[in-house]
Symmetry: C2
Subunit: 151 residues, 2 copies
């Protein structure tokens, strides 16, 4: 039988690349989650809050100025976040329960829901944003390629 030698086949490279991604993702996400939980937020919660706080990257409103710049359709949020529609709905529900966002009806299409960040939400966001950046700097900035596995 043909013996497999430790050559660098593209499949092996892909597998290794995938392992690296899994590793960085798991460790960073774990850290992020733990640090954010001290502020009553999960990683997904922060992602949504971050999108709302940044307000369409701050330049494009697209609503004619009628709505606050922190207002999004749920669909818009869904396209920017890797979460199922149902999960996103529940995240918004949690954030709303905590008073960080508010749901409102969409005037143009009353099936839709407009989500906007509240003042409390902005405060919370500005609190946790440095935390997130610190975690990213710590986990992504330093060793990332192969040796990141070693604590």
């Amino acid at each position: 039988m043909a013996v497999e030698k430790p050559e660098c086949l593209p499949e092996r490279l892909l597998a290794q690349e995938w392992r690296d991604i899994l590793d960085v993702h798991a460790r960073t996400m774990c850290e992020l989650d733990r640090e954010l939980h001290a502020f009553g937020l999960g990683a997904s919660d922060f992602e949504v809050l971050d999108l709302l706080a940044q307000g369409r990257d701050g330049d494009d409103r697209g609503d004619g100025g009628k709505d606050p710049y922190g207002s999004f359709r749920v669909q818009e949020l869904a396209s920017g976040i890797h979460l199922s529609q149902s999960a996103l709905s529940r995240v918004i529900g949690r954030l709303e329960k905590d008073g960080l966002v508010a749901r409102g009806m969409c005037a143009q299409d009353r099936r839709g829901v407009r989500v906007e960040i509240t003042d409390a939400g902005r405060v919370r966001h500005s609190e946790v944003l440095p935390i997130q950046r610190a975690v990213l700097a710590r986990m992504l900035g330093s060793g990332r390629g192969r040796d990141a596995v070693r604590p």
Copy 2:
């Protein structure tokens, strides 16, 4: 490959890098999970099965060995997989229930558990390995740096 561009502000660069990682991870993991579910496996299940199938040093030594080359302590698996100890225990439980792995006592330390892959497990692994490789090739092989975000 090299996507580093040391021109922007480091915080924004890190945030973008993290978004890229989140994106690739989410889409690849989602695909992987969906495809593997057709074979009754989740992504974590496959990871464990893959470790067991590849043997200790990542390469299948010899072909006919019935020796415990597919035998791992749970702890060893834990160090190679980003999963909590409890979750790993349950993954092993599922795999065992499906007859893909077998648990046995560890002679040296009877607190420990030895996990080894079964013949059925090897068959299943050889079935799904090409699937995984195909998904990885499809999701990682093509554009990955920045344009992978656009569908």
